[in-house]
């Protein structure tokens, strides 16, 4: 029996990227007899890619203009908080906008005013599309795989709602009473933590690796309490650690996950 342990990137592809990316993710899931979705994936999905989409949707709502939203996308792509949206992708949107400029909606503008201008039409088309993608993604998150596993007692999954036209994600972090619910289980196998830390040491020195390594080190200290922020920094290490030995981690981020999985004698694959 083959089993896939679904990591956040595959969940995001399947739910947030309609077209070839979603199809690839979904057909990869179908290759396995059983697919397991840990709630940690849902948590990362909500705080990461889904939050990015909500931000994009919010810009369309608040500016009411595609031109202004596009300006914001460009700025964000250059900021330290940049999403993984490269400038070539934005160019595709700009190209579509220029192509459509050739089409005149003059008679409709006369009749319907600003609502018929190219800028507002484009803005509303993207807003409505994004709204549907976001709401459906959240609705279908637990239906994508055969099972949802490793519920997190300190994570209030909550529902997303629409308020004044904006999408409200609610709480995205854990709310532990004492410490993160994963801590106790992670401390049971300090050797595994050390192995993952060693695997990270062999990887390129990047911010997320440094933070992950620090959390793995502090976890071995019994007096230390794992905070929600540290739980977030653990990221890929959670998947490597909690993936059942007979399952394969399904991820598009194989670069980071393969070393961690192999350190624990497990496997990670791309869809």
């Amino acid at each position: 029996m083959t089993r896939a342990y679904v990591e956040t990137t595959v969940l995001a592809d399947a739910l947030l990227k309609p077209g070839p990316r979603a199809n690839a993710a979904k057909s990869a899931l179908r290759r396995y007899d059983e697919s397991l979705l840990p709630v940690y994936s849902i948590k990362e999905f909500k705080a990461g890619p889904l939050a990015h989409y909500v931000w994009f949707h919010g810009k369309l709502v608040t500016t009411g203009s595609w031109q202004k939203t596009l300006g914001q996308l460009r700025k964000t792509a250059m900021s330290p908080f940049r999403m993984r949206w490269v400038s070539t992708a934005i160019e595709a949107l700009e190209a579509a906008e220029h192509k459509d400029r050739a089409i005149t909606l003059g008679h409709l503008v006369d009749k319907y005013g600003a609502l018929a201008t190219r800028d507002v039409v484009q803005c509303d088309r993207y807003r409505l599309s994004l709204r549907r993608i976001i709401m459906r993604a959240w609705k279908k998150r637990r239906q994508l795989t055969s099972t949802v596993v490793h519920e997190l007692s300190c994570y209030p999954e909550g529902d997303i709602v629409e308020e004044r036209g904006l999408i409200e994600l609610g709480e995205v972090d854990c709310c532990p009473k004492d410490e993160c619910c994963l801590a106790e289980e992670l401390r049971r196998h300090p050797e595994s933590l050390k192995k993952m830390k060693a695997a990270i040491a062999g990887q390129p020195r990047k911010d997320e690796n440094v933070k992950r390594s620090q959390v793995l080190r502090t976890l071995t200290r019994p007096s230390h309490k794992l905070t929600p922020k540290q739980c977030r920094y653990l990221g890929d290490a959670v998947f490597a650690y909690f993936c059942p030995p007979d399952a394969v981690i399904l991820t598009t981020n194989t670069t980071d996950l393969i070393p961690l999985a192999e350190a624990l004698g497990k496997k990670a694959e791309a869809p």
Partner: protein, 202 residues
């Protein structure tokens, strides 16, 4: 007319009072979606709406969901939408008839005529996000087809969704999602292609 446009009406002393007569909501005025509006209807007996006391002047609390369908009832956009949707339903039906008669050229011509109605229908999106969502999906689907004629199954689905929209132009965004799923199930792409490309990039 009212039965085909899901307009909410209140019965008072045997006469029908269209809800849009509420003077507190003027045409074009936007209200926050989560608010409720209090309106006074003297001697309203209908148990559906009589949440206040049993007699005398009553204060009725109406939710936005109850009010919203009527806000744009019989507005120019509503009337235009119904007219264009009736045309679009007819076009899709004629396309199906043409395919049944093995006349692909006529079918394609009818689809072209349907397609050119969509930009103006999208201008009627003040009727609600549900309406806008469905028209946007049609526009995107035709863009993705890039001039190809939809197949019979796709035209049937288009016809079905258009008919529903004509009957319920004020449908909610969630209700619209189900209709868009009908289009997706026959292989029509409901999102603008360039947006999908953008979202799919790393």
């Amino acid at each position: 007319m009212a039965t085909s446009t899901n307009i909410v009406e209140f019965r008072s002393h045997g006469s029908l009072i269209p809800i849009y007569s509420d003077a507190a909501i003027s045409y074009g005025q936007k209200k926050p979606s989560e608010t409720a509006t209090t309106a006074s209807f003297p001697d309203v007996q209908d148990p559906i709406v009589s949440e206040a006391g049993p007699s005398g002047s009553q204060s009725l609390r109406l939710s936005q969901a109850e009010l919203y369908p009527a806000r744009h009832a019989f507005s120019p956009e509503h009337i235009t939408a119904l007219r264009l949707l009736a045309l679009a339903v007819g076009r899709s039906k004629r396309a199906l008839d043409a395919i049944a008669a093995d006349n692909a050229l006529v079918a394609d011509t009818e689809i072209q005529k349907l397609q050119v109605l969509l930009p103006e229908l999208f201008c009627c999106r003040v009727l609600g996000d549900g309406f806008g969502t469905i028209i946007n999906s049609f526009m995107s689907a035709f863009e993705a087809l890039a001039g190809d004629t939809p197949d019979v199954g796709q035209i049937r689905a288009i016809n079905r969704v258009l008919q529903l929209l004509k009957e319920k132009p004020f449908l909610s965004a969630d209700e619209a999602d189900d209709q868009v799923e009908v289009l997706e199930s026959v292989g029509l792409s409901p999102y603008p292609r360039e947006l999908v490309e953008f979202l799919s990039s790393d």
